[in-house]
Subunit: 219 residues, 4 copies
């Protein structure tokens, strides 16, 4: 009566399988957030049976955490490298940082998307964005430090709160990418040409750098 094993495993490559699940999960979480994501759909997208997810991850939450980890590790690492790697602190460093950040978001669209979900869902309140490391805080400290150095060097007006400066520039870049596609304010969607991104970047740098500089650039 008992049927002999009718099916065999296809890929038999744990590494690949895990990656497939993770990738499918990322897409699903990006699109629907944690609550809206369906493990069944993730399995389908990853072309694995539903149950297999639970061999690689402890559950939906764990899978989500893994996705966040995978997505934000390079984000934080890159930021750290960038901020800590520059030798000479000048106006250029900050400008470069902004550009780098902006382009990173542009090229990794899941980052702003997942951040948007993260921010919306205040349920996580006390959970750090990335599980293992407390890079968020570190990053900010480092960024603020660099700003402070800029202030000491006379490029940046000393009365500004370094933390605020960092937040302002991060927020402007982030918001541009997070609000893409939502009809919140239509700005930038009008023409539909991709260069709007870069145009906005230039605008933001213009305004922002001038806003924090000690003296207006002769430009």
């Amino acid at each position: 009566m008992t049927k002999p094993h009718p099916s065999r495993n296809r890929s038999r490559d744990p590494e690949r399988t895990r990656a497939a699940i993770l990738s499918a999960a990322r897409a699903e979480f990006v699109e629907h957030g944690f609550t809206g994501a369906r493990t069944g759909i993730i399995a389908t997208k990853a072309e694995v049976p539903q149950g297999l997810i639970y061999h690689y991850f402890e559950g939906k939450q764990d899978l989500f955490d893994a996705v966040m980890e995978e997505v934000f590790a390079p984000y934080f690492d890159g930021m750290m490298a960038m901020l800590s790697g520059a030798q000479e602190v000048g106006p250029d460093l900050l400008e470069q940082a902004i550009r780098l950040y902006f382009h990173f978001l542009k090229e990794n669209p899941h980052v702003p998307r997942l951040l948007a979900w993260w921010m919306a869902n205040q349920g996580w309140k006390d959970k750090p964005l990335v599980h293992k490391r407390e890079l968020g805080a570190e990053l900010e400290v480092l960024g603020a430090q660099r700003i402070a150095e800029g202030q000491a060097a006379g490029f940046i007006r000393p009365e500004l709160d370094p933390g605020f400066v960092v937040k302002t520039f991060v927020d402007i870049c982030l918001m541009w990418h997070m609000s893409k596609g939502s009809h919140l304010l239509e700005c930038g969607l009008v023409e539909g040409c991709e260069d709007r991104d870069l145009e906005y970047l230039e605008h933001a740098i213009e305004v922002f750098m001038r806003g924090i500089a000690t003296s207006p650039p002769s430009s």
Copy 2:
């Protein structure tokens, strides 16, 4: 069939009931977003039987739309009034607009919360934020107009794209309130004192106004 039941508190005040449901729904949507919100919990919070929700609203989606309408109507109305009401265009108008907007968000915390969910959920893509009116677009046009007037009057550097200027200032205010409570960047949470809000507002105005001004204020 389905012999009904002994009743308890037939309150008999439709106006009140509807408001209770709407209010409970707002809280639930704010906390969990559309997908995560549970009609059962809304009913419990509103102290009505679950079925009654469907007497007042066509379904979860309709309820959500009603909440959005209710929340954003004053938002758009206030913005419009403010922007269109000012006679003389000077640097003060813009500054006042920023302050007004910032305080509105501060005093109506569901607005940034719901906006955060809205932005995260790109599924709505082609749905205007508020059902009946297309105020979002109107607002931006009006704001941009005012900026252009400022440029014509010589207060604002003419090479800036008015739409971008509006977006920058909106985003800075919005992001501050949206990111409250999420451990994204810890900025502003450190002390926990409420004045951080106002401090940041002053900072933002400082930087932003200087960034867009034609000549640096003598400060």
Copy 3:
């Protein structure tokens, strides 16, 4: 706080109201059967508030019974009148009865429709079709009697069971109208011309009368 009676009754004509409900109910039961019918829709169709139904009827079941009564009373009455009214029993009486029955069904399409629902739903098993009277049985007895008279008079073959004869002719007529519109066997739907009904009637009479006659009509 308590609102003064904001609405007045419109029609204030109990007779009319009852009739409206009954009529709407009939349409709804015809279309969806007892289980599928919705009291809410009946109320809407009748343009009365939901609750009003319960002033006129005890509930859905009672309403259904009332509809059945109203629909089948003329059915049974007419049959009785026809069968009992004829004086002379000849082949014509039976043929006329068939014609009458067939046309009655044709002109009162809810009858076959409700009968179809009734037959499908064996849950009623022990409930007579019409509440108050036991006309079904009476009718058959009377019909069978007339057949027996016909047998005695030599028009109808004596070896036939009179009850069967009645049933056969009733069933043929009934089935024609009950199966209208269902793609069971497409017969009769082909041309779509209404005369198919009458053509079939002639066919049925032809076959049936010949089938029960003692000697084939010279035709």
Copy 4:
């Protein structure tokens, strides 16, 4: 989330499970029709959790379709085989067909029951009775053809519409079994002895064959 539960009898026999669901569904649909059937009761009868139904079927409708398919496939197949299989066309072929059909309905009581529901529910109007095949139409064509052959051979009166002849004989058999148990006309229920079925069959054949024959049998 939703930590699952201790399990009991994981039976692990998909074939069997599917069959159990289908069988329970058939019983439920027979008894209450599509609208009146409850998936919960089906699950209970089949001794499976309610959710499992949706592993095998897409929904109630799909389940219903599967039941119809399963029930009517043999019906149509048998009819086709019978009608197409006979070599010599004589009066016997038709008589045999009637007997076969009648006995099929007698031994497969769900067929008339489901047909009754189907006929009652005109909502399906444009849906063929059985999903995949259009056998209904084919069947009638074939049946009509056979009748026409009988007319050509001189057994059946040529002025009769073959389609009508088929319908008449199908309807008589069907109606007998469909009306069983409903107190429409009490005929045949009086004695309660099972032979009434066969008695009626003989009656029907007698009347019907005589009614369509070219010349009355010498009997």
